[in-house]
Symmetry: C2
Subunit: 285 residues, 2 copies
């Protein structure tokens, strides 16, 4: 993609995933998120640093070809060894299949679609067990899916087994979730944002922030919709569109969203995933 030698020949896919998590939280302004300039009282920059380092063993398992569910659960368990709570659950849900695809030499939409299609019931069980390690804000499950509510964590595994659902099946049932849509469709937003980051210029964290703003303007953020409702989610989208890719203009938005506690989730997750893909493809740092 970039031509020439890779700027980080010694970096493994797990290294790039950990660096992507670090760059994601460093990029600023990312309106409403913890970023290099902003903390929330109980969710701070250092929690993301520790979460990224802690997630590494799980990401390495993914790179070594471990089943996606097992690698994901390990990554979430590792991430949770800091006091900020859930920092990167959604990021890891996107990163694990991408790391698997990268380790297999096929970090492409088709490559990650193969990883998703290959998931099993055991992977779904690993996904549910990951919810035992950390509190994750999610929407109520669809009608008739109470026994599959992710908030049951490992308690839902018998129902998953009984229904014979793979992890791809489970995510296909997560209506309206931005990360689940990436899983279902070969990560189109992730790959598009990665290419935009590679075509962009300037320091990597600025490219991350611009990618975040673009993604935020494209569709309502899942976490904002769950926490603040659809009206706010659409408002956020419109406001991000108005800011465009102008980081100075987005500073005011960052102050406002932070004050209102509007903390986009899925948008940050896809940004981290896109940063990983861009790093693998030679994004300079």
């Amino acid at each position: 993609v970039t031509g020439g030698a890779h700027p980080r020949p010694g970096f493994s896919a797990a290294d790039h995933a950990v660096l992507a998590l670090g760059l994601e939280v460093t990029g600023t302004p990312k309106p409403g998120n913890v970023d290099r300039r902003r903390d929330y009282d109980d969710l701070r920059f250092e929690h993301f640093l520790a979460g990224g380092v802690g997630a590494r063993p799980g990401l390495e398992r993914a790179a070594e070809g471990a089943p996606v569910g097992e690698a994901f659960e390990a990554a979430v368990a590792g991430m949770s060894q800091q006091s900020g709570g859930n920092t990167q659950f959604g990021c890891l849900l996107d990163l694990v299949p991408l790391v698997s695809a990268a380790a297999d030499g096929s970090l492409t939409p088709a490559g990650v679609e193969r990883v998703v299609a290959g998931t099993t019931v055991a992977d779904a069980a690993g996904f549910y067990r990951a919810f035992d390690h950390v509190d994750v804000t999610v929407a109520d499950p669809p009608e008739g899916m109470d026994d599959l509510d992710v908030r049951r964590g490992s308690g839902a595994v018998p129902a998953v087994r009984e229904r014979g659902l793979t992890l791809a099946d489970v995510l296909a049932r997560s209506e309206g979730d931005g990360n689940a849509r990436e899983w279902e469709r070969g990560f189109p937003r992730t790959f598009r944002a990665a290419e935009a980051m590679l075509d962009d210029d300037g320091p990597a964290p600025d490219r991350v922030a611009r990618a975040f703003l673009s993604l935020l303007s494209e569709e309502p953020d899942t976490l904002v919709r769950v926490e603040q409702g659809p009206d706010v989610a659409y408002e956020v989208m419109d406001r991000a569109e108005a800011a465009g890719r102008d980081l100075a203009a987005a500073e005011d938005l960052a102050e406002e969203f932070h004050a209102r506690g509007i903390n986009p989730g899925t948008t940050a997750d896809v940004t981290a995933a896109a940063t990983f893909v861009a790093l693998e493809r030679g994004l300079p740092v």
Copy 2:
């Protein structure tokens, strides 16, 4: 040391070393350094993030019991895969023997003294080869030591071999270098600063910044002395002492030192090393 379960039971010594590098650059204000709030034009926060992730394979080798010189060269080679130049050479020089000691279950002054005493001529060769990977600002060598000038990198290895110098011998000849003094004396400033961080309270990056200020007030920084001369090095020490451990008071100092390009080196290195020891001993994040 801390009582109770370790807050990060899944973190290896290499994990804590990488996290220490991240927390070190996150702590703010660290007057004159790149920190969470300040960049230099060509040396930016993200270079330190990438340097820390890149150093990891070398740190893991140290944790696995590899010779110190080999682990250090690998860490520096990995660190250098970013465009900011030398970010953490001195930090790694301090971290590698500490990681070795930690992996051996003896992260104490006596434990790291054993690591230092056990270094060989091959370790000294690894140390010199590390200078091939990145430009490091150092003082001129003492009289009669030109053939051992570290700026020769691997070119000095024949002289090292001929003289039969171990890495401990080489560092003992580095007159006036703050990191070399830590090596010679069982890392006294490192362990003292680590205990102060554990006794401190508040978020980890604030403890890092206060540890940095204390260390900066204790003795002239080696890098400041080499780059700006002894008068400035003493001025920096006095100004840090006047700021005390008051992070608000140190903000003005950070603005001034940054504007004057006064970028303390050894002080940051010892701070990173102390952060590693504190993390191993249960510093909460």
